[in-house]
Assembly symmetry: D2
Homo-oligomer: 362 residues x 4
């Protein structure tokens, strides 16, 4: 029943509900000696902060992170790093209505089925605010990985029917538009599509892509702890994710061996490279030195103003319209969550893989 | 580095290489009192046995399982169940050539990068034979779940470009054709496509679908141990899997909230059901009582007779053609592996979820 | 490297240093529906609070606990319970001297050897304040167990050379003297002994005993997860513990089979009891229904005012006298820590053992 | 309920009952490149083999180990090492009587309480034969540690009332007498004492001591994964162990800070040593570079020929005398089991501690 901890060597435990005192994370196993200040984490958190565009909820929270332990004289000590963000808008609303019925597409019913009751204020533990702890921990992992030459490029590849055109792909564009798309034109089309969704009291899904550069070959463990299996779990643990694919993913199921295999080639420097990267940088669960590339499918925001059928806690049919102004799309704000979970997973695999060979131990 | 164990309460550890003495699994945490004989397991293993059709490798192995511990007077005792299948064809071949270069699409290079060397005979630990332990353990999990009213329907949904037509969907057909497709016509078309692949020294990918019926609402844990996250990991840990989606999966990313949300409805018996099942039976990581439905994308067999570019262990470019007659497709034989991993994951979640509420403890 | 989490189903993660912002714990896996208010936890914390007698450090901290998550409308929700105690006296002292050398009997040197540096203020992570998180979590576990009829009697059995006389054993006395001894006379003698230690700038060790009543037979897991093995680990994880014994413990090594075996007898109500309890309530790692009884040896406070030899960070010999007024004994304040760790361990074992038999699953 | 796996990075899973097909272990996470042949393991197993002296059971089994996986061309591959020892005397006996009642001091009753029934032949899973898997895994761990300069000295320190005289301590003597005592005279006295126990249909307990040399400072993790806490668990998981103490152990509880603290001193080579080692080589859960020293109390063999009271499965009082010729003492044969568990624990801690500092990662 204890599901709020992930990781083996770099282990994180998140806590907190939407309308409790706050949300936070304890990071255990971060190596000692990493320079770390609150601003390193805040920059990551700001990428998921609400109220930043027409496409995210206008809930205004500063989401200011505080380091409560594990850092001394500006450096990590190797002991648990406790991070906390206080909830600011936690008393403002009347949730008695939402408490009475089960919102479609939400976890209201399943929490009740499992626990007998739930904290219904703003989704409680299944709120998007739960991801704050993930992002805070991901910021720490990403900083450490950055020092090892590992970097992340994460973005919205598609929103509803609008996809990025690879010919217009521009990584610089990602942080210039509120939808985190690496294609200015697609971002504009997607914005128009989202305006339409909003005017219809509706919402949209999207696809997030992530490319990780610099992971050396040899990371990940055969059989159950494959690097891609752990990425799949980490990404699927994000609330609205409904699909995960590595490299060509589902397209590989329609391909042939000849078109899908990546030929190895000399890299010109005495090492080995690959001619293509259909595999997405992982073979047999172990990194092959190419960029790791994966996609996540994110479902549409389930909270919509349009009327829907559902049942109340007595099992009676009711019609509901979800009040409040919600994000018409989850994917853009989930970009940094995906990146955070990827960073946490890769760092954990790297720490776990030290000493795979007896030579390394001496 | 220890990646061969999965599960929390129902924990399995697999061992063995393609050409060692054998392969096996230790199941720890199986409740006591389950009737279990070797035939229960053998039936599952026979579904993945080689040499059964034109579309699987003609390697002839009886793959006979032996129960070495954990069963007494025909019942599980609650202590570890050790299962073993001896390898029979382990000395027959000269692997000196395969040892010298890195096969495209295989884990040869990544194992060398990680461990410094590898057991190169027949893929060693990354061989498909590693899945025997998974299937054996899955047979035990499925038998226990069956007693709780939980059943699995697993099949090939598509092979290369050929997909099952839902209008012709017939579950009875699945075990009648060697491709495990629930549509006789599609199976015939897929067989023709595979014949063509073979004649071109090529291979094909495919999609496996799995529907799990009877899981009660309330199973799975919020945040990182979501039931779908654990299914994603378990399925992605199978060698050739490149994609995983739950319910509508990637299609949900193109959908809207209105079309994707599943309305709750009274089930007519005082309980709650859903009008649709786009979610695939899991909300917020917890089962909602609907059938759990997921798909896995399986890549084409990387071992193909067609010539390919690669490099040898010295990093020099070479041209290779993989000798031996390999399956032109992995997906059909992986159907039972997918089912096994799903059964293991669901049972583990159920055992972990007992006692979620203080009332349950009394 | 991530060592601050313990437990499988009832999982706790502690964080915090002596002189950081605070200390805390995240409890994950507490069943839903348990009534819980801060006062339930505060009562436990008050048992370890400093400044309560002549035999504990005069550091004055209110150690007020705050529930940050996981409780809604007075009941646990099944999601993580985050508890925090702010540090109040964290800026008051000059630690530059302590930073320069390695205190004998402390973890200064080993932290430096492991991490390269350390938070030297007041012992940092190896401070006794780390146990606040344990005690807070233990209060929750004990409350839940109390509802299942399981109770704890924990006390100092000896202090230095002074032992409790079993003929004078009075459980009511435990909370009447500051040394938590169940024998008024022994408590007085021990107090005199401690006064003598203090006047000699010295300190004393002690033995803590714990008796757990009401654990049903059948809890614990054979082989590595034996209930006594997990108790041994949990108790040995408390800073100053140097020995652990179950039942007769080391005395059993001098006994014979005839004197050490406990005969089973009919309990007069159709059940089974034991004539004696040399085993301490656990056989083969599984509870036998008798009270569980164990002892922990606690070393003397290493911080003493008497002069000692040690080395500084440059490896040079120095003479030091630890400034400040420290507890002349650790054992009495560790009584509640021992009880907390025992409660956490027993509850985790009980939650893990649900569903040991297939019948239980239906 | 899954209790047969231990370890984080060096993970072992044991299986098997006294009278099943065999017993074994799967070692997962052993680094690649270690030279390993069956003889390396057999030498360890021979130290616990029955039938070697008048003080061990005359059951004759060759206990020949077979490596089933994980070794290729004489070296470990980094993948699971499966080791098996077939049971040879498994069909010889009538166990119907033993099945009907609960032997005092054994796990018969607790297994029934937990699982509803048990494999009663020879103790089933709670038989001493379960330790074969531990010893086999320990042999692998010890070989790897030996290459890192870490060695073990394990012996019987006392048997019943007979203790080793430290003035006569001779490590060479340990393997010369069947009681593994480092003192010829004490061994002779202990043998006489055991003869007397046998003639009285009785048995004796004993104390095992273990000294581990060469562990560098800095191994082990603060808080719950302290090196001593994990040693306590590992040693307490051995069937008959009733007490564990590190360094001075329970004597430290009677000591003062001045007598118990170990002064640090310059080691004369620019490093740091300790003047004494009351702590037993671990401070704050982390190794301090001194030898690690611990003791385990082992209870007397519970199977004795003398008549005892107990109850049968119907809860009725009966008198029993345990048939068969059992070891009159467990401790000597448990010496190698203690050493094996210590080696497994130390190696796991070392593999877990790589990368504690960010510098190590580059």
């Amino acid at each position: 029943m204890a599901g709020s901890t992930i990781g083996n060597q770099f282990k994180i435990t998140t806590w907190g509900e939407s309308h409790g005192a706050g949300v936070g994370v304890v990071i255990d196993g971060c190596p000692a000696g990493l320079s770390l200040v609150e601003e390193d984490i805040q920059r990551y958190l700001n990428r998921r902060k609400p109220g930043q565009s027409a496409y995210s909820t206008p809930r205004q929270e500063s989401d200011t992170v505080r380091i409560l332990s594990g850092v001394f004289e500006g450096k990590t000590t190797g002991t648990p790093i406790s991070l906390m963000v206080a909830n600011e808008q936690q008393r403002s609303k009347d949730y008695s209505e939402i408490a009475s019925y089960y919102r479609p597409g939400h976890a209201d019913y399943t929490f009740d089925a499992k626990y007998g009751f739930r904290d219904y204020r703003g989704g409680g533990r299944s709120s998007g605010r739960e991801t704050i702890g993930r992002v805070a921990a991901g910021a720490v992992a990403a900083k450490l990985l950055s020092g090892l030459g590992i970097s992340f490029l994460t973005y919205c590849e598609s929103i509803g029917p609008v996809s990025v055109d690879m010919d217009r792909f521009d990584p610089e564009e990602i942080n210039r538009n509120p939808l985190y798309m690496p294609d200015k034109t697609a971002a504009a089309e997607a914005a128009a599509y989202l305006d339409e969704c909003k005017s219809n009291c509706n919402s949209s899904g999207g696809v997030i892509a992530c490319r990780i550069t610099g992971v050396p070959a040899g990371i990940g463990d055969p059989v159950f702890e494959k690097l891609d299996a752990n990425l799949a779990k980490a990404i699927f643990s994000i609330g609205a994710v409904k699909g995960f694919e590595l490299g060509d993913g589902f397209a590989a199921a329609r391909a042939t061996g000849l078109s899908n295999n990546d030929s190895f080639i000399p890299d010109g420097q005495g090492g080995i490279a690959k001619k293509t990267n259909h595999a997405g940088g992982i073979l047999g669960g172990i990194s092959d030195g190419s960029p790791i590339f994966f996609r996540a499918a994110v479902k549409p925001t389930p909270s919509i103003a349009a009327e829907q059928d559902t049942v109340n806690k007595n099992g009676e049919a009711v019609r509901v319209s979800i009040k409040g102004r919600h994000d018409p799309i989850i994917a853009p704000r989930a970009v940094v969550v995906v990146e955070a979970m990827a960073a946490i997973t890769v760092l954990d695999a790297m720490l776990t893989n030290l000493g795979a060979v007896t030579e390394d131990l001496k």
